[in-house]
């Protein structure tokens, strides 16, 4: 990985964490996330000021072209109604008030364009912060978006967003907002410097069924848009500037992977039964529109988790009641008779969304104002969302999931708000549908009081990603502690079992919808712990279905019990490796099982 090697375009290899499956070869598409943190101030020679102003004007034109293209795409994908938000941003780029301010600053202060944009934008944001009207104050998110876009345009990386057919996205970290902008039908794979198994990059990639590797540390710095690159998610390996022999080697590997996937796509529409006749229901986790297609294609029994906060990033701010109602109606239609479970906005915390709020960094965002807490704090937003949900529920089956519940008081408070809005909708002459209310079990406290919670909700949704994070006190996006993020930790398994039993005792369903369910070996353990409904990225369903149809639930219970008795995560993983590899060697080859912990 020496600098010399890069200049001579020798093959360079990286190893990272593979977060989905598959092999891909293509060309690098570098995505710059446009952070504002490292804007520098330069003092220019007075002779260069004219050129600097022209550079700024060129960036404005480029940003305008991009926004027009995004707007056109949004009009096609979402209807003209939704594309309006980009109109406001386009007008900002035409606004003499903003443009003159930047240009005057460049001329008067001999400043570089980046700095002038930052100063002008900070000034505007400060003025907007003073507005008393919540809705209008939120327009600051449009100013932030426009600023970010101008800064990216000034950095000269903007053209990189034009996607070629074989684009492999390389980013420091893929944020939901950049994800919303990409046309993922052209993306073959994703590689990012930061992120772990449950990062946003990972979830998006698994949802789309494309290979992704994260935790590559400094790939972004070395890769240039257009460079040849190969990604093998099976081995967690990335090769930049691959030689002909390497490409050939990977192409062979890809053929093997594709041959496997061909077998996997059948089986949808038929009930999934274990060999001893226990029915397992597989549902789909959905966030991005490109994932919608997979729900039907892979035979999902409805949508087990719709992460609604995407509506925020897509729009660049709070979606209106009508916009949300249209989105939920579409989700309900997509899910069909089995219905869709819509999780309320999970905003705040590590989810960086344009909520229109100024980023006041919390010391412990994962433990801070997020999810249901954030919604209670922004009650108008919560009321708008539940109104939209009840209106959409008149057209199809929808349930609501309350995220980050820690005891029944939050359930009662949310239920009261829902009932108030239902009455109001009725009085206004709107049709509403039944809305079952479920609690997301992801805070350890909720596991401890699961019996009490089960009496007050209609179902449980077990969010294993956050449950592991909170139970083991491991920041899931921090690479440094990734080694402590252990899905098979006995405490995690005990919590899952306890939650499922509490649901069973109260006669309500429990649906496991974390990423854990997408791995066949873990899905088997979940069935052994009593799970009967699993929700996962649609693309993962074929392999999970193929595995569960060939095992018996009684043996799965034996394996799960052995894991529950383990003292450590290492022991539990070893048990899974030994038991699964021993009982079903035809299903679990060593590479399909959690890797043995290396000595380091």
């Amino acid at each position: 990985m020496s600098r010399r090697a890069k200049i001579e375009k020798h093959e360079i290899r990286w190893r990272g964490v593979a977060v989905s499956e598959g092999v891909a070869a293509g060309r690098v598409l570098r995505i710059h996330t446009g952070g504002r943190g490292n804007i520098y101030r330069a003092t220019l020679d007075p002779d260069d000021l004219k050129r600097e102003v022209r550079r700024f004007q060129a960036a404005v034109r480029l940003s305008r072209r991009q926004l027009l293209a995004i707007k056109r795409r949004a009009e096609v994908a979402l209807g003209a109604e939704h594309a309006y938000i980009f109109d406001a941003q386009l007008l900002m780029l035409e606004d003499r008030k903003l443009l003159d301010e930047v240009e005057d600053y460049i001329r008067q202060e001999c400043a570089n364009a980046e700095w002038a944009v930052k100063v002008a934008s900070d000034k505007l944001l400060a003025v907007y912060a003073e507005i008393k009207d919540d809705y209008l104050r939120e327009r600051s998110s449009d100013i932030e978006d426009v600023t970010r876009r101008l800064l990216v345009a000034l950095s000269g990386e903007a053209q990189s967003r034009r996607l070629t057919e074989d684009a492999i996205v390389v980013a420091e970290e893929l944020l939901p907002s950049s994800a919303a902008e990409l046309d993922f039908s052209h993306v073959r794979a994703i590689a990012s410097d930061a992120g772990g198994w449950t990062s946003h990059t990972a979830i998006i990639a698994r949802g789309l069924g494309i290979p992704a590797i994260v935790g590559l540390r400094d790939l972004y710095r070395h890769a240039r848009t257009g460079d040849e690159i190969v990604i093998d998610a099976g081995r967690g390996e990335v090769v930049l500037h691959p030689t002909g022999a390497t490409v050939e080697h990977f192409t062979e590997a890809r053929k093997l992977v594709h041959a496997g996937a061909g077998v996997a796509t059948d089986g949808g529409g038929v009930p999934l039964l274990t060999t001893d006749g226990v029915e397992i229901i597989l549902r789909a986790n959905v966030e991005l529109p490109p994932e919608y297609e997979g729900v039907r294609r892979y035979g999902a029994r409805g949508i087990g988790l719709f992460r609604s906060e995407f509506l925020f990033t897509q729009r660049g701010g709070a979606p209106t009641e009508d916009e949300q109602c249209a989105a939920y109606t579409e989700i309900a239609a997509l899910a069909g008779a089995d219905g869709a479970k819509v999780r309320l906005f999970d905003l705040g915390g590590d989810k960086q969304h344009n909520t229109g709020e100024f980023e006041t960094a919390e010391r412990n965002p994962a433990l801070g104002l997020r999810a249901i807490r954030y919604s209670f704090q922004h009650e108008d937003m919560l009321r708008t969302q539940v109104r939209a949900l009840m209106r959409a529920a008149a057209t199809g089956r929808l349930d609501v999931v309350l995220p980050m519940i820690s005891d029944v008081s939050e359930v009662r408070r949310a239920r009261r708000i829902i009932e108030e809005e239902r009455a109001r909708l009725g009085a206004e002459g709107h049709a509403t549908g039944e809305l079952k209310i479920g609690a997301m079990i992801e805070v350890p406290a909720a596991v401890m009081v699961a019996d009490q919670l089960a009496r007050e909700v209609d179902f449980f949704s077990l969010g294993t990603n956050d449950l592991v994070q909170y139970l083991l006190a491991v920041d899931r996006s921090n690479d440094e502690v990734a080694g402590w993020f252990r899905t098979l930790h006995p405490a995690v398994l005990q919590s899952i079992k306890r939650t499922i039993e509490a649901a069973g005792g109260a006669g309500i369903p429990a649906i496991v919808c974390g990423e854990m369910a997408a791995t066949p070996a873990y899905a088997l353990v979940l069935v052994g712990l009593g799970a009967r409904v699993l929700s996962m990225a649609a693309a993962a369903m074929p392999r999970v279905r193929r595995t569960l149809a060939r095992v018996d639930a009684a043996s799965a219970r034996e394996v799960a019990n052995l894991c529950l008795d383990s003292a450590t995560a290492d022991d539990a993983e070893e048990t899974v490796r030994a038991e699964l590899g021993g009982r079903w060697p035809h299903l679990f080859s060593p590479e399909n099982l959690p890797a043995a912990k290396s000595g380091e």
């Binding site: 406001a88 606004d95 903003l98 009207d133 209106t320």
Partner: protein
């Protein structure tokens, strides 16, 4: 110079979408178009979205509209019609 008092009637007030329509409409004419809150709170150039948004004009806000220039009659007519029709917003519940 023409001057007229108008009231914001649509539910969401001069929010982003309505403001965008106002700026697009005002931008068609050569005349200058100014909006001032009747309470003296703020003045805006109707051709600048950033300035219009800063009016923070919610439903019920009274504004005085001033138009000056060669096509002031047409401009006044178009802007008034837009505001009085609630920016063509379908009346949400």
């Amino acid at each position: 110079m023409l001057e007229k008092q108008v009231v914001i009637v649509n539910r969401l007030g001069l929010h982003a979408r309505a403001a965008a329509k106002l700026v697009r409409t005002a931008g068609v004419y050569r005349s200058s178009v100014r909006l001032e809150r009747a309470d003296g709170g703020a003045v805006a150039d109707a051709k600048s979205i950033l300035s219009v948004l800063l009016l923070a004009a919610a439903r019920g806000t009274e504004l005085s509209l001033t138009v000056e220039g060669e096509d002031e009659g047409e401009a006044m007519g178009a802007v008034c019609a837009l505001i009085e029709n609630g920016f063509g917003e379908e009346q949400e519940a």
